[in-house]
Amino acid sequence: MREPALRMDGVSLGYGERTVLRGVSLAAREGEVLGVLGPNGSGKTTLVRGATRVLAPSSGSVTLLGRALPLYDRRELARALAVIPQEGTPLFPFTVLETVLMGRAPWLRPFAFEGEEDLRAAREALRAVGAEDLAARDLSELSGGERQRVVVARALAQGTRVLLADEPTAHLDLRHAVAVFALLRELRDARGLAVVVVTHDLNLAAAHCDRLVLLSRGAVAAEGTPREVLRPDLLADAFGTPVWVGRRSDGTPFVAAGGGPGTGNGTEEAGREDRR
């Protein structure tokens, strides 16, 4: 099997005295979408900070494309790993194309303007997310769904092999959330990217991710295919609430809080439902 594009080995990580992640290991390969799940406070955001080198692990290591993360300089890192952050719109009225061209910043020299190659990369990225017709619009005029596509395009314009999305559907309605996940799968197929999605939306993750990692209290509680990870006992323990897991007609797990349809109570019933 190929060397994973992004690998964490026994990473422990925290803020000062407080350790948030404890011995987390995971691997994302090119051509797959890896979902990182977990309740609030389980360490998802801290994991993103470790993968993007905002925080340095107190023990363990992060490897990106076969090279230890601390060996990258800032611009090299931005050429290897693109992140779709949770951040608001800019202060000033940049256009969509200008925003996507910002993804070329790690490739620009000081005092330089973007060249033909940068423009080509930006246009391709806009085409990949289906937002070509928005190019000249002011970012602040766009809807939440359109804006998120633009942010994905900016990450694509960076030209990296690894894409890390931090809660990319947090402010989106159902249709747009599904569209974002479908887009990430498309990028996996068309460009062979390694895609890591941090999300708390279990059902979108179940339907769209190839593999899942479930975080609970700063450690990996389960890892594997959606069927292996989305088990009522594991989820109930991680989220601290009864969870029902059913199956769609294609076998994809489907998760709901509390008891399932027709069942009066929580995990026990749900567990039976799952094994059926």
Binding site: P85, L91, L97, L101, P106, F113, G115, L119, E141, Q158
Partner: protein, 336 residues
């Protein structure tokens, strides 16, 4: 806007604005009270008035206007606040305090033919920069809210000290202080070359970080993820913008509104890309202040009014117009 269009926009705007600066300089050279009665306005006198008085003063006004506009644009990006002005962090307050302390403290205000007041003012600015930097620094970062807090507190502190000094001043000193705090472009107060060099260094430093400033206006996190050394860029921007403010204040005392509304006006026309905005704002601010200063010294006959009055009278309504038009144009409301 494609990259080629962006570069083209810079060239086009640059050419137009250079022409505007040249035109404003020509106006400044041509306009003004005639040579006083009783003396023959010989060609020689006229030449002296234009070449030795009006043109140097207009060049200095251009430098100050440009410096304040660039500084304002940089502070707006640094503080993530479109209402930031070059004076918001109290750098100018420190400069005024330096100048006033020298006046009241009876320090020599000239060394032979070299005036020292601007040096004291610039020293005050540097001290303010160091103080604000030390207070606002948290784990190597100059975060916007820390800078604002430190700057606003420092400014109030400086103004309080300034009031004390004004209270203690003799009537003669008080007149000098008033003259200083009103702000005016006066030649002979500062070597033009030194001021121009400081401004050039500040502007170049900011231009080098042009892309980084664009990214910072999206957010520190995004900028860092796109390879920007956020802490270093924030520090460089703070120092460069403060040096520009300090130079302008040392030359002319505080002149309001230029640094607030020129960046906004330029951004409206040319967009927010700092690689275009900063040099264009420099030229636009230069042309604006040359014209404002020309009006200040000629609109009311031989009696000069403070140029800050002109910039405020023109700038305040213009700024309101820009802001209200923006509200109609773009939905600011849904921005976080």
């Amino acid at each position: 806007m494609s990259p080629r269009a962006t570069a083209g926009r810079l060239l086009g705007a640059g050419a137009l604005l250079l022409a505007a600066v040249a035109a404003s300089l020509a106006v400044a050279a041509a306009v003004g009270p005639e040579v006083p009665e009783g003396r023959a306005a010989s060609a020689e006198t006229r030449r002296f008035v234009v070449e030795e008085i009006r043109v140097p003063r207009a060049l200095l006004a251009a430098l100050v206007g440009g410096a304040l506009s660039v500084s304002g644009a940089a502070f707006q990006a640094l503080l993530r606040n479109p209402l930031a002005s070059p004076y918001i962090l109290g750098v100018s307050g420190g400069g005024s305090l330096g100048a006033v302390a020298a006046i009241v403290g009876g320090l020599p205000l000239a060394l032979g033919a070299v005036p020292l007041l601007p040096a004291f003012a610039f020293g005050g600015c540097l001290a303010a920069i160091a103080l604000i930097h030390a207070v606002a620094q948290r784990r190597g970062h100059l975060l916007a809210q820390d800078l604002l807090l430190a700057g606003v507190v420092a400014n109030s502190f400086f103004l309080a000290l300034l009031s004390v000094l004004q209270y203690l001043a003799t009537p003669h000193e008080a007149a000098r202080i008033l003259q200083w705090t009103l702000g005016a472009v006066r030649t002979g107060r500062v070597p033009f070359g030194a001021a121009a060099l400081l401004c050039a260094i500040g502007l170049l430093s900011l231009l080098r970080d042009g892309v980084a400033l664009n990214l910072l206006s999206v957010g520190d996190e995004t900028a860092a993820l796109l390879g920007v050394d956020v802490a270093a860029v924030r520090r460089r921007t703070f120092v460069a913008a403060s040096i520009l403010t300090g130079t302008a204040v040392a030359v002319s005392g505080p002149i309001g509104f230029v640094g607030l509304f020129v960046p906004h006006a330029v951004r409206r026309v040319l967009g927010p890309d700092h690689r275009v905005l900063l040099p264009s704002a420099f030229l636009a601010g230069a042309a604006f202040l040359v014209l404002a200063d020309t009006a200040a010294r000629s609109a009311f006959g031989a009696r000069e009014i403070p140029v800050g009055v002109i910039t405020a009278v023109v700038g305040a309504p213009a700024f309101v117009a820009i802001l209200s038009r923006r509200e109609r144009g773009a939905p600011e409301g849904d921005r976080p």
